[in-house]
């Protein structure tokens, strides 16, 4: 029986890797997650037949409660709120890994090899950090926690806390029967460390942090897999740890931020006001003007940003795009790598609204096309279209890749008000001669444009 179970675990590990591979291409992605899903189910089922286990009642109760709640919430959450759901589920995985370590530490009959104690302690710290860090990330994205918050000497405090926690972890890992008090202090410190690391980080950097915590959880799971001598956990955890790290680097690169600056030197909001005066004036268009401009263009590129996501305007925007296409206008969507709240989040939102993914283009794919475009329509995006990133060396966003909307013949910007973007800097694009502002919530403006387009056709 045991050999059979181990063989099923082996197949599950294969299915996870093949599934993950399939998930990195749009055409096969859905199949990929389904394979991984069946594999997970198989792994859980055969685990019930492992020799020497008891407490099946408790086990099944816990699985049913945990899975049912998570399933229900996952099914009902709005697409805009997906990032924080990923964060919270990730935190639960980290918490589970930490709890496994705790039970292993408390086992009376444990005679551990030192490497087992060491990895159990490491996995416990990383898992606990992922747990509390993800809870903070969830609270921030959900809007429960609005302020960034840092202690004096933040980096030193974090460093010494980490060192101290790790020290206690080592003594626990190498002692055969750690005391309850020692264990409690250890886990509380590790949890505090996770919270302390995440609290100072602002909203725009959150995706990178969630991705990093995701990699952390993977690593913790891999370590606990070693503690339990379970190769499936080692392989799945380590694969996620490595791919999560790479994903984190890709995201950080897209935002022109290094992991080090995200974690240890977050943008504090006090943007330096040393930028040159912007010249020109803001020119306003009504939604009706915008509708006419769009209708009589040949080629339109729509650049959606976080403002569109917040207004929940993606359905209206797609309806508008379809009307334009019916009128013979060529419409494409251009997505900046960090549009929305996470790389790829905007694609998910547009896909939800029914925009086929072959109309959606990456920055590299489409940037050269703006010069041959009649109208670039920017909806609720700001910093990602700010030409200062290309030209102004003193700008905090200098060097970030941007969408070159300013090269289009005409630029329309739908925006809630005259405020600045996340980075708090003025956008000189809005003052250019070829740029017009349409003020209002994306939802309302798009609805008005749709109405006007229909009148123009009638």
């Amino acid at each position: 029986m045991s050999t059979f179970i181990q063989f099923v675990y082996f197949l599950v590990a294969v299915a996870f890797i093949v599934g993950l591979k399939a998930m990195s291409s749009p055409a096969t992605a859905r199949r990929g997650v389904q394979w991984a899903g069946y594999a997970m189910l198989a792994a859980v089922l055969v685990t019930f037949y492992l020799p020497g286990l008891h407490n099946y009642g408790l086990m099944i109760t816990a699985i049913v409660i945990g899975a049912a709640i998570a399933w229900y919430l996952g099914k009902t959450v709005k697409m805009t709120d997906m990032p924080q759901m990923v964060a919270i589920y990730n935190g639960m995985g980290g918490g589970a890994a930490a709890a496994i370590a705790a039970v292993e530490f408390m086992r009376a009959d444990a005679v551990h090899h030192p490497s087992v104690g060491l990895l159990a302690a490491l996995g416990a710290i990383i898992g606990a950090v992922a747990f509390s860090g993800s809870c903070v990330a969830f609270a921030k994205l959900q809007g429960l926690l609005k302020k960034t918050w840092r202690v004096p000497q933040q980096n030193n405090v974090v460093f010494f806390l980490a060192l101290f926690t790790f020290g206690i972890g080592l003594t626990i890992g190498f002692s055969s029967h750690p005391g309850g008090l020692e264990l409690t202090v250890f886990f509380l410190l590790a949890l505090a460390l996770g919270a302390l690391l995440t609290l100072p980080i602002g909203g725009a950097d959150m995706p990178v942090v969630i991705s990093l915590l995701n990699a952390f959880t993977g690593l913790a799971v891999g370590f606990e897999g070693y503690v339990l001598a379970n190769p499936l956990l080692i392989v799945a955890g380590t694969v996620v740890g490595a791919s999560g790290t790479l994903l984190t680097l890709l995201m950080a690169k897209a935002m022109n931020r290094s992991i080090r600056t995200v974690i240890f030197a977050p943008i504090t909001g006090e943007a330096q006001e040393t930028q040159g005066e912007v010249s020109g004036s803001l020119k306003e268009y009504s939604p009706d003007d915008a509708a006419a401009t769009l209708r009589y263009a040949q080629k339109v590129i729509i650049v959606p940003g976080y403002g569109m996501a917040v207004a929940g305007a993606q359905h209206k925007v797609w309806e508008m795009a379809q009307l334009l296409e019916e009128a013979g206008v060529e419409v494409k969507f251009a997505i900046h790598p960090v549009a929305g709240r996470m790389p790829g989040h905007m694609n998910v939102l547009l896909a939800e609204a029914g925009v086929p993914y072959d109309k959606i283009f990456d920055l590299e794919e489409i940037n050269a096309e703006f010069a041959q475009t009649d109208v670039a329509l920017v909806i609720g995006a700001n910093d990602v279209v700010n030409p200062a990133a290309r030209t102004n060396k003193s700008s905090p966003i200098y060097g970030m890749p941007i969408l070159n909307v300013d090269q289009a013949r005409e630029v329309l910007v739908i925006k809630r008000g005259k405020g600045t973007g996340y980075s708090g800097i003025e956008n000189e694009l809005f003052y250019r001669d070829n740029c017009h502002m349409v003020y209002g919530s994306a939802q309302e403006v798009a609805a008005r444009i749709i109405q006007r387009l229909k009148e123009l056709e009638a």
Binding site: S24, L53, G66
Partner: protein
């Protein structure tokens, strides 16, 4: 398990994880993060093992093991649903208005 072969498994799995997603397009970053989030839900198996090995009279370990299984199950189930919902939206609409490309 012998420590050295575990080290080899760690090494190979790390390279696999890196290679498997090396060429992922930006549009799939969020679903892929969510998908790998689901895969580390396999921690549920570990939770089941420690809970199953706990002597039935050790209340503290039972409680913590119970929490491990509960959290692991939530990670796996929630991670799956969220990923599946995101990916279900990626439907291609080939042939429809692919104008000047």
């Amino acid at each position: 398990m012998d420590g050295m072969s575990a080290l080899f498994i760690f090494m190979l799995a790390a390279f696999t994880g890196y290679e498997v997603i090396a060429r992922v397009p930006v549009i799939l970053h969020t679903p892929l993060m969510s998908g790998s989030n689901f895969i580390h839900g396999v921690v549920l198996i570990g939770g089941m093992i420690v809970l199953g090995q706990t002597p039935p009279d050790d209340a503290a370990s039972l409680a913590i093991g119970f929490i491990a299984v509960l959290l692991g199950a939530a990670n796996a189930a929630g991670g799956y649903v969220v990923t599946e919902r995101m990916l279900a939206m990626f439907k291609s609409n080939k042939g429809a208005g692919e104008g000047g490309r």
